[in-house]
């Protein structure tokens, strides 16, 4: 879009860039600072700001501690949650996109509304239920509750992708001699693959970042997100290690975020905005 008509045109290119840089500093500096702290030795933590001798010992300490166990817990639970959501959500997204049946939009909206329910509201009864059912502090329990986060997101994103495929293609494949489920597997799934990847990665990120659920519904089977915070609360000396732990926890999603650049808009808005 040509920007001579932008309302900001009056403030001049130079000022625009300056403002952008200001926001860039605001957005990125904290991350940079976290990284800096993570490679600063404890001895120089209180005395220097930017000039110091970088070291990897913070990382070494964290990597050799039991923190990594929590890192892998997070990995296991998040990946498993996404897989479950894929198996359940892909057919559901297809059904919502294609079939016409009573109560379709109601069901769709109900699934979406889970996103907006207060976490604590769900957790309070779940705490009891989980204790009774022995799901408290288990991988299975977390994977199950993570569905609250991952399933609505996945269904809504994929629904949009399925809707984008012309129904004629399915009809053509049926006429070519394939049963409806074969059409689904051999024709449709390859076509929504980019959507699957994007939705899957985005769901993974949200599952990975989940804090409230593992905090309250789990104890020893804990995720790195929760543990990182505990470090800060309990340890007021080894800031470098805390920063390192945070950095390690944030690393996977930074990488993944770069991968899903293209589908971000659709994913974040639950398909309400077509990027």
């Amino acid at each position: 879009m040509t920007h001579s008509r932008s309302p900001l045109a009056k403030i001049g290119k130079g000022l625009q860039i300056l403002l952008l840089l200001a926001y860039a500093v605001f957005a990125l500096f904290p991350l940079l600072w976290m990284f800096i702290m993570s490679i600063k030795p404890d001895s120089q933590m209180l005395t220097t700001t930017f000039i110091f001798t970088p070291t990897l010992e913070n990382y070494a300490t964290v990597l050799h501690s039991d923190y990594m166990q929590f890192f892998f817990n997070n990995l296991i639970v998040s990946v498993a949650a996404v897989l479950v959501s894929l198996v359940v959500g892909v057919p559901a997204a297809y059904a919502l996109a294609r079939f016409q049946f009573k109560g379709k939009e109601d069901i769709a909206f109900t699934i979406l509304s889970f996103r907006f329910a207060p976490e604590i509201l769900v957790i309070l009864p779940l705490y009891l239920i989980y204790q009774r059912l022995g799901l408290y502090d288990t991988y299975f329990g977390l994977i199950w509750v993570y569905q609250l986060i991952t399933l609505p997101l996945l269904i809504w994103i994929l629904r949009g992708f399925f809707e984008d495929i012309s129904p004629d293609i399915e009809a053509a494949a049926q006429l070519d001699g394939y049963a409806w489920w074969q059409v689904f597997l051999r024709v449709l799934l390859p076509l929504v693959k980019p959507g699957l990847v994007a939705a899957g990665l985005l769901c993974f990120i949200f599952a990975w970042n989940s804090f409230t659920f593992p905090l309250l519904l789990s104890n020893n089977v804990q995720t790195s997100t929760v543990i990182a915070l505990r470090y800060l609360a309990s340890d007021t000396v080894h800031y470098g290690q805390v920063a390192a732990a945070a950095a390690i926890s944030a690393l996977p999603e930074v990488i993944l975020a770069l991968l899903i650049q293209k589908h971000l808009v659709r994913g974040l808005s639950f398909g309400a905005v077509k990027g």
Binding site: M1, H3, S4, R5, S6, P7, L8, K10, K13, I17, L19, L20, Y23, A24, P30, L31, W33, M37, L46, T49, V88, A92, A95, R98, F99, F101, I107, F114, F116, A117, P118, E119, I120, L121, V122, L124, L126, Y127, L128, I129, Q147, I155, W208, N209, S210, F211, L216, T225, L232, A243, A246, S249, A250, E253, A257, L264, V265, L268, S269, V273
Partner: protein, 338 residues
């Protein structure tokens, strides 16, 4: 010649032939045709099978959905009891929990904090987000670079983000200590003081969630149709006029949906507040979610906590309902403009 085609009959034969009927030109006598209007038994069964397919496919998701309803129902039931985590007897106490909630000043205080927090965060993020999105809708170097990396604050766990901000504002090792002293705010206590705790929270929340607004608004800006702007160019009109009468109405649906998302989520935000202040100092930032958590876990009053959360949910639902109504109307209007 008839369009280059030899007619099968001579013209006169055609003119004089008996007229074709309006239905079929039967080559079999009507009695042998299957009766129209009836369907064979097989086809009825087949049609029924086809009609049930969507439900079959949806079944797993529906089962999960029902599974999710169970906690909600349980919550509602529990709210009518005096269930507590440290006592073994439970009795039905009717609406007592609700009444005491409405009478407790803590509840109203938390309600105010929740609304204040949600309002401040949403306002800051929307204004900042739209401004930055407008700035980013450009092809200079900074914009192109920023478009790619601005997603990072959003992707990092909000808790981790809060953690980082705690480190930044830490009095002993935080990087902001020096600069704050330079502008005369050397005593600024950030999250440690009741007066500045809310401010600190909003800063953290804005840091995490402004990218969300930016990304959506930017996508909206880029998908705006060009022709109304070309027409405006010909008709004349200041940039501000164009912005107010063309851009804003067409952008309204995206703005509203972003507003809905941010408002809904910030009303029930828990992680950031918990990580930064735990509701304190004192109860300076004790939103409803935090209050409910405190009642239930450290203090074991599970059943007491639920009515607050139900209230919150009802609030969220109500507000989203109204806003989604605005959103739908804005979409229709935008379609009319473009």
């Amino acid at each position: 010649m008839f369009w280059g085609r030899e007619p099968a009959l001579s013209i006169t034969e055609v003119w004089n032939a008996p007229m074709s009927t309006t239905l079929s030109s039967p080559r079999t006598p009507p009695s042998e045709l299957p009766r129209g209007g009836s369907a064979s038994k097989d086809s009825i069964a087949h049609a029924r099978r086809r009609r049930f397919r969507p439900y079959l496919v949806l079944a797993p998701a529906l089962i999960l959905t029902i599974g999710i309803f169970i906690p909600f129902i349980a919550a509602i039931c529990l709210s009518f009891t005096d269930y507590s985590l440290n006592s073994s007897d439970v009795s039905f106490i009717g609406f007592d929990n609700y009444l005491s909630m409405l009478q407790s000043s803590d509840f109203w205080h938390s309600l105010w904090i929740t609304i204040e927090y949600a309002f401040l965060c949403t306002a800051v993020e929307m204004l900042l987000g739209v401004g930055v999105a407008l700035l980013l809708n450009d092809e200079n170097i900074v914009a192109r670079f920023l478009r790619i990396v601005l997603i990072f604050p959003l992707m990092i766990a909000p808790v981790i983000g809060t953690l980082i901000w705690k480190l930044i504002t830490n009095p002993s090792v935080g990087i902001l200590v020096g600069p704050m002293r330079m502008i005369g705010l050397g005593d600024f206590k950030w999250a440690a003081s009741p007066d500045s705790a809310m401010f600190s929270l909003v800063v953290v929340d804005a840091w995490v969630y402004t990218p969300f607004v930016i990304i959506l608004v930017l996508a909206g800006l880029r998908s705006l149709p060009k022709s109304p702007y070309e027409a405006a160019l010909i008709d004349g009109g200041s940039p501000w006029f164009v912005f107010k009468n063309l851009t804003l109405p067409m952008l309204a649906p995206v703005l509203l949906i972003t507003l809905v998302f941010r408002l809904m989520l910030s009303l029930q935000e828990f992680s950031i507040i918990f990580a930064l202040t735990e509701g304190g100092p004192g109860d300076a930032t004790m939103s409803l979610s935090l209050q409910a958590y405190n009642r239930a876990f450290p203090f074991y009053g599970l059943a007491e906590a639920i009515p607050m959360m139900l209230f919150l949910w009802a609030l969220v639902y109500f507000v989203s309902f109204i806003l989604i109504g605005f959103w739908r109307r804005a979409q229709q209007r935008a379609a009319g403009v473009a």
